[in-house]
């Protein structure tokens, strides 16, 4: 991860129940409930991803929980300001493990278009506050991009990908 972000020590589990863990991981990957946490423009695209045309619920990820206690996944959709930073950290801490974070949009990744000399209110990337699992670039990313982010996260959890990868034409 380089200089930015977190170095998570590899977890040492004394006894590993291989099969149980695998089944649990599979269940987790197929039931990623996001916390309703819209920050800015990207939140609208996150909603669009959950709506009729794109339908996140197909992957079991459409249950948006308003309480962080019941969510598995925090999608940081938009600019994180210095005033918002402590709130965001609290929300993350309120979520029960195992939990994941998707940084959606350029603002959440690095501050995006709002970084300029003399800026006084921006956290330049949400990974300075909480560990991020998947980055979805775009300003804002299309709903398809968020879906791909979900697939990436599932792949990260289970080690296998849901759909065959489509090779980019470019």
């Amino acid at each position: 991860m380089g200089e930015r972000g977190f170095h998570l020590e590899k977890e040492i589990i004394p006894v590993k129940f291989a099969l149980v863990e695998k089944v649990l991981d599979l269940a987790r990957a197929n039931s990623l409930w996001p916390v309703t946490f819209g920050l800015a423009c990207c939140a609208i695209e996150m909603m669009a991803a959950a709506m009729s045309r794109f339908d996140l619920d197909r992957f079991g990820a459409g249950v948006f929980r308003a309480s962080p206690r019941q969510g598995d996944l925090m999608i940081v959709t938009g600019t994180v300001t210095k005033k918002m930073a402590p709130v965001l950290t609290t929300l993350y801490e309120q979520m029960p493990s195992p939990k994941w974070v998707i940084a959606m949009g350029n603002c959440a990744i690095s501050g995006g278009p709002f970084v300029f000399e003399g800026q006084y209110n921006l956290v330049e990337g949400v990974d300075l506050l909480v560990p991020v699992d998947v980055y979805v670039p775009g300003c804002p990313p299309r709903p398809e991009a968020l879906l791909e982010g979900f697939l990436k996260l599932e792949e990260k959890i289970t080690g296998t990908r849901r759909f065959p990868r489509v090779e980019s034409a470019w």
Binding site: M84, V87, G118
Partner: protein, 524 residues
């Protein structure tokens, strides 16, 4: 109207020297300089004449700070700019919050960004900024925040009394549609006092404008109000065109109208869905998104993005519309007309919906004026003020449409008005499509590097949420010296604490939703 007003000001207010200015060049009709001791007399005059305070802003000219009060009337445009110079070393000005409720927040904003202290203001607490800011961000020179101001940073510290308790609605709460925080003092389920706390999404647009050229700032407009991006885009483009006197070809004007109106429908649709989700009905939300996606497909074809458009350019458009766009728009208009009956059946005729929205959040005309609310919220109070008609910018004067107004000023009215506005937008689109002229879509000879003359302009447009005003000061460089955004949600939210007083929590959520707030626009 303007001449008569100038004479009257001269006669009534001692020592005032109002000057008439060219509306096409400046965007306001009359300018007036005053001094701190005469301010209350001037403001009193406008209050008596039933003007509303459109905007209150500050500009740092290094040698002096200038406060600008923009007054306007609702039904006939007569915009008066009142300027007040103050000393930057000891920036103190009299507060007008007692006369104009909308000044209450504007003065707080100026205080925290420029350090101007308003004498007589009831509560100079910080509204936007975070704890830990050590200078006034919008000043041209770095001015540290004095220690007594530091104490004001923690803008709202609730304490508990007997029989009441405090609820924090937000910043993460499903009904605030973003990161607005409202501190509610509750007595059981009833709200005693509501205090919005802003700034959780303050993205420094105004500061950024001073660091960018005119072209570089263009993409920011779409991100300020992501639901009405076209309107914000249009407002900014019009303002710069006015500043640099760039002509716009007719074709571009009409395409701008079509795109803006499509975007307006988009925004109103999303409001309908989100509002019903606030009231507990989730299905309409998905229905409106279905319609919305159709618009996005059409707009994406020409603008290249789904949400944060940057389609208009100074002097025209980014690219011309093609047959696909026109066919797509026609198809959408046809589809949308048939959808209204569905919403009528699903929502408008629903007894629970009517009972939830009728008679709550009632706004009186006088109240609307004092708070400077605009858009559908203002029209629900019965004031037929639509800037598309009154200031007829772009090519709106050649198009026929109605201004739907409400009779009660309650939340149900704002719903009906928005539905009627969508119908009118469809009418506008149909007419604009029929009238769409050929020719170039971009003015010739728009310089790459804009060097506008010294001076200021003001430009308003009617966004889906209400009146957007852009005030630009140029210092002959290729970027703005100062840019102030008078945003509709900000002034609409101001009225919320008064409307929420004494109502049930559920009603407060319904009222908050009816204002159609877009948080990045409030926080800028």
């Amino acid at each position: 109207m303007v001449n008569g007003l100038i004479e009257e000001i001269k006669a009534r207010v001692m020592g005032a020297e109002p000057v008439e200015v060219s509306y096409t060049e400046k965007g306001y009709h009359c300018a007036l300089e005053t001094s701190p001791d005469k301010l209350s007399g001037v403001v009193g005059f406008f209050d008596e004449k039933r003007f509303y305070l459109e905007c209150l802003l500050c500009t740092d000219y290094t040698d002096y700070l200038e406060l600008v009060y923009l007054f306007n009337t609702h039904l006939a445009p007569c915009r008066v700019k009142v300027a007040l110079k103050i000393d930057p070393e000891h920036p103190v000005a009299p507060s007008i919050a007692a006369q104009y409720a909308s000044a209450y927040w504007y003065e707080r904003e100026i205080h925290e960004f420029y350090g101007v202290l308003f004498t007589g203001h009831p509560n100079m607490a910080y509204l936007f900024l975070h704890n830990g800011i050590d200078h006034y961000p919008m000043r041209k020179t770095k001015v540290p925040v004095p220690s007594e101001d530091q104490a004001r940073l923690d803008s709202f510290k609730p304490g508990e009394e007997e029989d009441t308790f405090f609820i924090n609605l937000g910043p993460q709460h499903p009904s605030t549609h973003g990161v607005l925080r409202v501190v509610l003092k509750m007595d059981g389920e009833y709200i005693e006092r509501a205090e919005p706390v802003l700034g959780y999404l303050h993205r420094m647009h105004e500061k950024m404008a001073e660091n960018r050229t005119y072209q570089q700032f263009l993409p920011n407009t779409g991100r300020m109000d992501y639901l009405g991006a076209m309107s914000f885009n249009l407002g900014y483009v019009l303002a710069v065109e006015r500043l640099c006197a760039i002509p716009v070809p007719d074709r571009a004007k009409f395409v701008r109208i079509i795109a803006t109106e499509l975007n307006r429908i988009c925004s109103h649709l999303l409001w309908v869905g989100a509002y019903l989700a606030d009231l507990g009905a989730l299905t309409p939300f998905l229905f409106v998104f279905d319609d919305r996606e159709q618009i996005l497909d059409v707009l994406e074809g020409v603008a290249g993005s789904r949400l944060t458009y940057c389609y208009f350019r100074f002097g025209g458009l980014y690219n011309d519309v093609d047959d696909e766009f026109i066919a797509g728009t026609r198809a959408f208009v046809k589809r949308m007309w048939s959808r209204f009956s569905l919403y009528e059946k699903l929502v408008t005729g629903n007894v629970i919906f009517i009972n939830r929205t009728r008679g709550i959040g009632t706004i009186a005309k006088e109240q609307a004026r004092k708070y400077g609310v605009s858009g559908p919220v203002l029209r629900s109070a019965g004031i037929a003020c639509d800037l598309r008609k009154i200031e007829s910018y772009s090519a709106y004067d050649g198009l026929e449409f109605d201004i739907p107004v409400g009779g009660h000023g309650d939340v149900l009215d704002t719903y009906k008005i928005r539905i009627a506005e969508m119908e009118n937008s469809l009418r506008i689109i149909e007419q604009a499509l029929a009238k769409l002229p050929g020719g170039p879509f971009m003015a010739e000879k728009v310089p790459k590097k804009l060097k506008p003359p010294r001076g200021d302009v003001y430009q308003v447009v009617e966004t889906p949420r209400g009146e957007l005003g852009i005030y630009i000061v140029s210092d002959e460089s290729d970027g703005p010296f100062r840019m102030k955004w008078r945003v509709p949600s900000f002034s609409n939210l101001m009225i919320f604490p008064e409307l929420a007083q004494g109502v049930l929590l559920a009603d407060a959520v319904a009222i908050l939703g009816s204002l159609d707030l877009v948080i990045p626009e409030i926080d800028r």
